[in-house]
Structure formats: C-alpha cells, structure tokens
Symmetry: D2
Subunit: 148 residues, 4 copies
C-alpha cells in the first residue's frame, strides 16, 4: 500500500501564506480564552505548512542532511483573545533572511481582527554538530518570494 500524500494546507495570497485553525477545548484555559503558550503551537503549525508549501521537506532534510530550522528567539504580542470554536487564520511572511538565519513574521486573526503577532527567528542548524550552517541558495530564493 502506498502512503497517501496529504497536500500542504493553507493558501498563498500575494506574498503571504495563510493557514486556518479551529480552536478546540485543548487550546483554552480556565480564563475562558486560548492559553498564551498555545499561540506558539498555532504559529508552528502554520510555519510547518508554510515550509511544505515551499516544497521544503523538513523530515527528509533532517534524515539525509541532518539539518533543520531551530527557533532561536520569539517575540509575541497579545492584542486580543481567541475563544473556544473560533475560526482563526495564521498569516506568515518573511521579515528577513540571511546566511544561516531568517525571521518569520506571523499574525493571528479572527476574521479581520488581529489577536496576536509574532516575530520568530529561526537558525539553520546541523543537528549533529549543533552548529549553524548556511541556508541553501534555493531556500533563500523561496523565502525571498515571501518578503513583503
């Protein structure tokens, strides 16, 4: 039996990538809103699909080249709160891309209301040596397509 390929979720609109998320009970807390750390989960799901959309295969790179993108820092601003059952959209674009690192800018919306925004700095690492390594030129080209 062949393993089914599920296509990347999300949509490219102009130079941004948009990914839909539904809020379930697991995402909320006793304050009645989405728990603050879970926005980072939403952001990571969207970044995973963003890379998949660009045909960057994280699993394959990890196994064959021992390379991957590691989060080095994250700045998140919480503007308003998501609640149970909300249909959210996570937007991704590229703020900057350099030799071994990139900054992904992300915004989380409910309809046209901005709930949170993040700047996530990722470093391209060799997982075995634990050292940064250059982002391949074809990946830099892909990222550059998403600089607004």
């Amino acid at each position: 039996m062949t393993k089914k390929i599920m296509p990347a979720s999300g949509t490219v609109i102009n130079k941004t990538f948009a990914y839909p998320i539904r809020v379930y009970y697991e995402d909320t807390d006793a304050g009645g809103i989405v728990y603050y750390a879970n926005y980072l989960k939403f952001a990571e799901r969207a970044r995973s699909e963003f890379l998949r959309t660009m045909d960057i295969n994280q699993q394959q790179n990890l196994i064959e080249k021992h390379t991957g993108f590691i989060v080095r820092s994250c700045q998140i601003d919480y503007i308003s709160s998501a609640v149970l059952d909300d249909a959210l959209t996570v937007i991704c674009s590229v703020a900057e891309v350099g030799g071994a690192s990139a900054v992904i800018h992300q915004e989380i919306f409910r309809d046209d209301e901005l709930l949170a925004k993040l700047d996530v700095k990722v470093v391209h690492m060799n997982i075995e040596t634990h050292r940064p390594c250059r982002i391949p030129p074809e990946y830099i080209a892909k990222f550059t397509n998403f600089i607004n």
Copy 2:
C-alpha cells in the same frame, strides 16, 4: 463586521464521520512518536466536529441551557504509532445512546492502518446542578443515524 462562519470540517461516509488531522511537532515526544495523551486530543477535536456536523451547537447549549456532554470514561487501545507529519483520519460512530449518556466509538487511521481505537462514554449534564439530564429526543435521533 460579521463573524465568518467556518463550516464543520470532516466528512460523513455511510454511518460514520471522518475527520483529518496532521501531526505536528507539538503532538510528538522524545520517543519520536505521538505522545499517548495526545490521541485523546485528536479524538476530542473529531467529536467536536462530529457534533458540529449534526448541528449540535455546544457553545449555545452551554450558554442558553447550561447543558453539555461530559466525558465519563474512556477506553483506548494503542495498536501502532503515529509520527511527525503523518496525515491521520479519525473516524467516529455511535456505539450506543441512552437517556442521558452515549458511547462514541472512534478509530484513528494512517491510510488504512489502524493506530488506535477508543470508546468514549459521554454524559449529558446540567453544568449548574452538576446532574445528568436527558438528551433531547432530536439529538438522540441524530446520534441514531450514526449507529452502525
């Protein structure tokens, strides 16, 4: 601005409901597989969409009637493991439905390989009195459509 209505996700096939899930980093653990408690999250997401598909509005019932379905017990068998990036399908059907409770049968697949199966007993509760209360007849009729 009107709030966008995101339709229920998932598909009804014969007397079962099928809901797709992608495995992200947040779902996995250091054993390289999906963490055992997270299958219960997958199952709850699918049950949420299953109720939405049947036009049972949990949020509205909670606010207007103070009623909801509470998990009373769960039996889960782990048959094989899901890993990062897997595209899974969670299947839901109704094993039994009585006066104030129901048993939802769920199976989690990767393609046609069964990874886990659950029987989840839910009780229809009045959240204010903390007492079980009868499932409305129209809900029982909806559930009955999903008894195989």
Copy 3:
C-alpha cells in the same frame, strides 16, 4: 561541572507510591476544569517518578538496551473534576505483572476525594525490533512489591 541529580519526587506508603501535582492554567480548559486528556499527563508523570523510585532508569535502558515500557491500553474513569490551583495526589500500584507486560493502577485524589482512576497496561518492548521482550526478573521483583 557535574550534573546535579534531582531525587525522585513522591513517597512510598505501604505498597503504593504517591506523587503530588499542582494544577496550573495550562492544565485547565474553558469549562473551568482540568482538560480530560491532561489526567493522562499527570498519570505519566507519576509513573515516571514511580519507576525512578524503583531505580529503574528509563533513559539508560533506552540508550544501552533499546528497551522501554510502552503504553498498550488505558482505561480511565472520570469521577469528579480538578480545578485551577488544586493540589492533587496521584497514587500508583501494580495490578498485575507478567512476562512482558504489567498493569499499573492509578488514582488521582484531591485530599481524600477520588477524581479519576486509571488502569494502564504497559508492554516491555525492544524499540529497535518493535517486539515485546521479557521484563528483567529484578524489575518483576520490584513491581511485585507494589501489588496490594
């Protein structure tokens, strides 16, 4: 610099192991109570400390012998709900231990009120071959000390 050894948390009382847990926001959901899957996290933390108390070193076994205990099935009954800030106790004992598997019985209390109880069947596996393998006799002896 030597790595500090943090001792196992928890207490052995007669033939049971007791492990304390505080409920934080991350554990709760919009229903105002602990999310149902998170009791499995609490149970796994307690089982980890239970093994540590018995001087069973999971990390070392995984690396040196490629063996570990994998959850095969779990039956959980939810009796009452934990809420934010609760101080809980997770009790562990051994219901049965056989050649390659064991059943751990766990109960979660707030003071003397039983909130949930679980029977967790674990199988001793070789992680490389994905096949069950015999539990070492010294581990069976340790487990037997916790059969009530």
Copy 4:
C-alpha cells in the same frame, strides 16, 4: 473535611524566586528536546508560584475583585535545549513595575547552564470591563522586593 493547603513551591534567594521543574515525556518533541512553546508553560508555572509566595491570591482576586494579571507580550531567547528527565530551575525577578503593568524577567537553568530567558509583560486587568486597572500599592511593594 477541610481542603488541604499545599504551600507554594519554590525558594526565595536574595531578590529572586527559584522554582524547580522536572522534564517529562509530555514536554518533549520528536527532535528529542523540550518543545519551544513548553518553556512558556514552565515560565507560567513559576510565575504562579512566585505570586503565591508573595501571598497574591489569583483565584480570590478573580472571583472577588474580577482582577487578574494578563500576559501582554513575551520575548523569549532559546540558548540551549532541555531534554527528557532534566531537572530545571526557573528563576523569576521583577524588571519593572508601573501603574497597571509589570515586566517579569525569567531564566531557565539546568544546573548553572542557562537554557532560555524571557521577559514577560503582564497587565493588571479588570476581567469584566476588559480594561487595565491600577496594581494595588501593597502588590507594588511586594514586586519591588524582587527588583534586582
């Protein structure tokens, strides 16, 4: 039966608060390290105990005064990775405290190795009106004791 009062966990050393955390499977991901969003869970557990140590009762304030501290923004730097079974320490101090907001500085250590550091801005809010409100003077005095 009276509800047992579990004392605040953690220790005050000079003008900082230190809180111990053990890493369990639930905290890790398929990369073999603690998942990046989970450091925010660790930080929030420590802040909860930090407030408890200062005799600031969050639950009581929420119920009686409808006030609470809400995270407005968070800057986190990831320096090194925690792994399964690690014994970590989360350090809290107060970077600044103003009329209706404060910045908590947090550092996560494994022994004397710094793994992550965060600056978390919290705003004192009236939960019903969704508006910031002044931090009570006695709380400002308590916070001031933890400015280094």
